[in-house]
Amino acid sequence: MQTLDQCALGAAVEVDHVVGDDPLSQRLVALGFWPDARIMVEQCAPLGDPTLYSLHGYRLALRRDEAVRVVVRAVVG
């Protein structure tokens, strides 16, 4: 089990859960980081942060300290 910020560029993962229950964590869920959602790590900004992810057919950028809340697992099969 790892967090989204630890995933390498180009990795495809599935969301396990989002840590915490504050507004930011709730927002991450509302944006599509719900269990079993598939995430691709697309690109990172020239200075290494934020990173661009794709999920549900759209592209969303998260900072490292936001991505750390998303616990992910490797895609099985």
Binding site: P23, L24, Q26, R27, L28, A30, L31, G32, W34, E42, Q43, C44, A45, P46, L47, G48, D49, P50, L52, H56, G57, Y58, R59, L60, A61, L62, R63, E66
Partner: protein
């Protein structure tokens, strides 16, 4: 059924980038009017259309991601949707981006809890098709149990049907979803072809490139600047010529005296000095809107976020600050793209520190008069750097004190690149310019009047009579006509200077000169500073009058002058400043004093238009007052610092 003649309110809600604004503009065919939510700085835009005698009021709400607000504008939108503003919403139009239907449906599920009559507008179906998906609109409508319309802002498809359905009043309150949003999405989305690597991905490989991303951004910004300043120049010339024609016509129609001076110097030139910026504003707003509409702005924020965060700002603060190097007014308008209120206010408050184009003539004249040509470029560049460095430091301090708060979250969608809907771009440019012209016509008009009153009155009859007598003598003398004319002009200029020297403004300048003495400024410079508070370049015509040179046009002092071969630093205002003496016979200026004065101009808040736009954009007097105070105090302190430290180091 909705009764005849009643106004029908339709509110548009959806995520950021869902395409609400294009849809609303397509629906009502009119440009939108920004309306502030009561007691907040958040804008919603409204527009009205009349169809068959029935008014349809379309309210375009700021984007939301869920009914739990993270930011201020979201919370205002949500309380509006909940009816807490006391305004009735007849129909809620949920705008859904078809290319990410799954996430859209999760927001839709939350919105059904509001119990409002709902209609759904699907947008960006072309993008969904491009990614290999087709959406069964009828099945979606059946699954949600509300009408669903597929819309396209480029062709207008579906928009008329949506409007007719709303006017027919056939909506009924939405019902909770019977199934899970993901299940519905699976049911209505069918894969028609394999998704290929699309244009957005390929463009992002380039624009977000680890090495090329940042240089490309700088290149684009530089290109926009060049385009704006080059393209605005002829139009600014026309305005200047037009203003000249209007003032000379007014001058010829009115007899010499107070009314003439009031109309020409006070009103026409006062308002004209602000309207002259309109072409730059039109072009800058156009390019910024274009960057926003194509989707590039989100990329710029993405690339720069890390740097801006160091100073307590976010990636979105960059464009307003860069724009402010041209003019703070479009820069401040560009802060509307910053979602978080505190980031936005911090950006608004520091943007006027960027050295704008109105400071340039002041720098040019002082550098030209007091610095060798070899150092001119370096001194000019360091003035621009000073503005940037101070802006960043002030932002950092503000974010740690009055605008304290955790760094706002980023969570930014990078939308698909798309070609702009020109009508929408045009409408947004129009809105920005109409606001600016309204402001020039009211606040600036009033302030110009006050400054004119202070610089014209009181008139001293004794001085007037004395000069009239001298002019009379010259005209009666038997010198040549040419000599007479020259002598009369000279006397008229001296009359103006003497009258101005005892005006309220000059008296105030002399009275407060002790405040500026620690910075080395004499009373004429102090008067110039006072006169320059409405617009900083006004110090040049004021100097012109005080040094009895007649009318001096700040537009004549261009940077190219500094490198010119035939540049004569002993002539004109350059020479007057160099030779100027104080009452005790010592020189009024030195390179050190010129430097202190430039630092003062770099940092001081001397632009009514900027303060007015801050008032407009923050919807409060608090921030313009704050900006004016901190900038003026900072400018004074830094000017004094430069002069005093310079003196300690042995310069005079």
């Amino acid at each position: 059924m909705i009764s005849e003649g009643k106004e029908l309110t339709i509110a548009f809600a959806g995520r950021h980038n869902a395409g609400k604004t294009s849809l609303v503009m397509g629906l009502t065919n009119t440009t939108q009017r920004p309306v502030n939510f009561p007691g907040s700085t958040v804008h919603r835009t409204e527009s009205t259309v009349t169809v068959d005698g029935q008014n349809l009021r379309a309210v375009d709400l700021p984007g939301i991601a869920s009914l739990d607000a993270l930011s201020r504008d979201e919370s205002v939108t949500i309380s509006y949707l909940r009816g807490e503003h006391g305004q009735e919403i007849d129909v809620l139009c949920v705008v859904m981006d078809a290319s990410k239907l799954r996430v859209e449906l999760s927001l839709y599920r939350e919105l059904t809890s509001l119990g409002l009559p709902v209609v759904v507008a699907l947008t960006k179906l072309d993008i969904a098709h491009g990614e290999g998906w087709d959406i069964d609109v009828a099945a979606l409508s059946a699954a949600l149990n509300v009408p669903v319309f597929a819309t396209n802002p480029y062709t207008g498809e579906g928009i008329g049907e949506l409007r007719n359905a709303v006017l027919a009043g056939s909506m009924h309150p939405s019902t909770p979803l019977a199934k899970d949003p993901s299940e519905i999405a699976d049911q209505v989305m069918c894969s028609v072809k394999k998704s290929t690597r699309n244009l957005t991905e390929r463009l992002d490989q380039l624009f977000l490139h680890r090495v090329l991303g940042l240089p490309l951004l700088l290149l684009i910004i530089y290109g926009v600047f060049q385009a704006v300043f080059i393209a605005a120049e002829p139009a600014m010339g026309w305005i200047e010529t037009g203003q000249g024609m209007v003032s000379s016509w007014a001058s010829s129609q009115l007899s010499e005296g107070a009314l003439n001076s009031f109309v020409v110097d006070g009103l026409i030139n006062g308002v004209g000095s602000v309207v002259i910026f309109l072409p730059q504003i039109v072009l800058l707003v156009f390019f910024i809107t274009l960057m926003e509409a194509t989707g590039y702005m989100a990329r710029a924020a993405f690339v720069l976020d890390r740097i801006m965060r160091t100073f307590g700002l976010s990636g979105r603060s960059f464009v307003p600050m860069v724009t402010s190097v041209g003019c703070a007014i479009p820069g401040i308008l560009a802060t509307r793209t910053i979602e978080k209120e505190r980031d936005r206010i911090a950006t608004i408050v520091v943007s006027p520190l960027m050295s704008c184009s109105a400071r340039l003539p002041v720098y040019v004249i002082l550098i030209g008069a007091f610095f060798p040509v070899a150092y001119a470029g370096t001194v000019l560049f360091s003035m621009y750097m000073l503005g940037i460095v101070v802006a960043v430091l002030v932002a950092l301090i503000l974010r740690k004190t009055v605008l304290k708060g955790g760094v706002s979250s980023f969570l930014m969608e990078l939308p698909h690149y798309q070609r702009p809907v020109w009508r929408v771009v045009g409408g947004q440019v129009w809105n920005a310019c109409a606001g600016f012209v309204r402001m020039a016509g009211t606040i600036i008009f009033a302030a110009s009047m006050v400054i004119w009153l202070l610089s014209y009155y009181p008139r001293c009859q004794v001085i007037h009579d004395a000069y009239e007598a001298k002019i009379e003598t010259v005209e009666q003398s038997n010198s040549s006509d040419e000599e007479k004319e020259k002598a009369v002009l000279e006397l008229q200029n001296r009359l103006r200077a003497d009258q101005q020297q005892q005006s309220f403004l000059a008296r105030a300048g002399k009275a407060i000169q002790p405040i500026f003495a620690p910075a080395g400024f004499d009373w004429r410079t102090t008067v110039g500073i006072l006169a320059a508070f409405p617009a900083r370049e006004l110090i040049i015509p004021t100097w012109g009058v005080l040094y009895s040179m007649g009318d001096v046009d700040p537009g004549g002092y261009e940077p190219s002058l500094l490198g010119g071969e035939e540049f004569d630093r002993s002539s004109g205002l350059f020479g007057q400043l160099r030779d100027s003496r104080r009452a005790d016979g010592s020189r009024a200026f030195s390179p050190l004093i010129a430097l202190a004065l430039m630092v003062f101009f770099a940092l001081c808040s001397q632009c009514m238009a900027t303060l007015a736009i801050i008032k407009q954009e923050t919807n409060s007097w608090r921030w313009p007052v704050f900006t004016f105070t901190y900038m003026t105090v900072l400018a004074w302190a830094c000017a004094v610092g430069v002069y005093q430290i310079g003196r300690m180091m042995g310069y005079s």
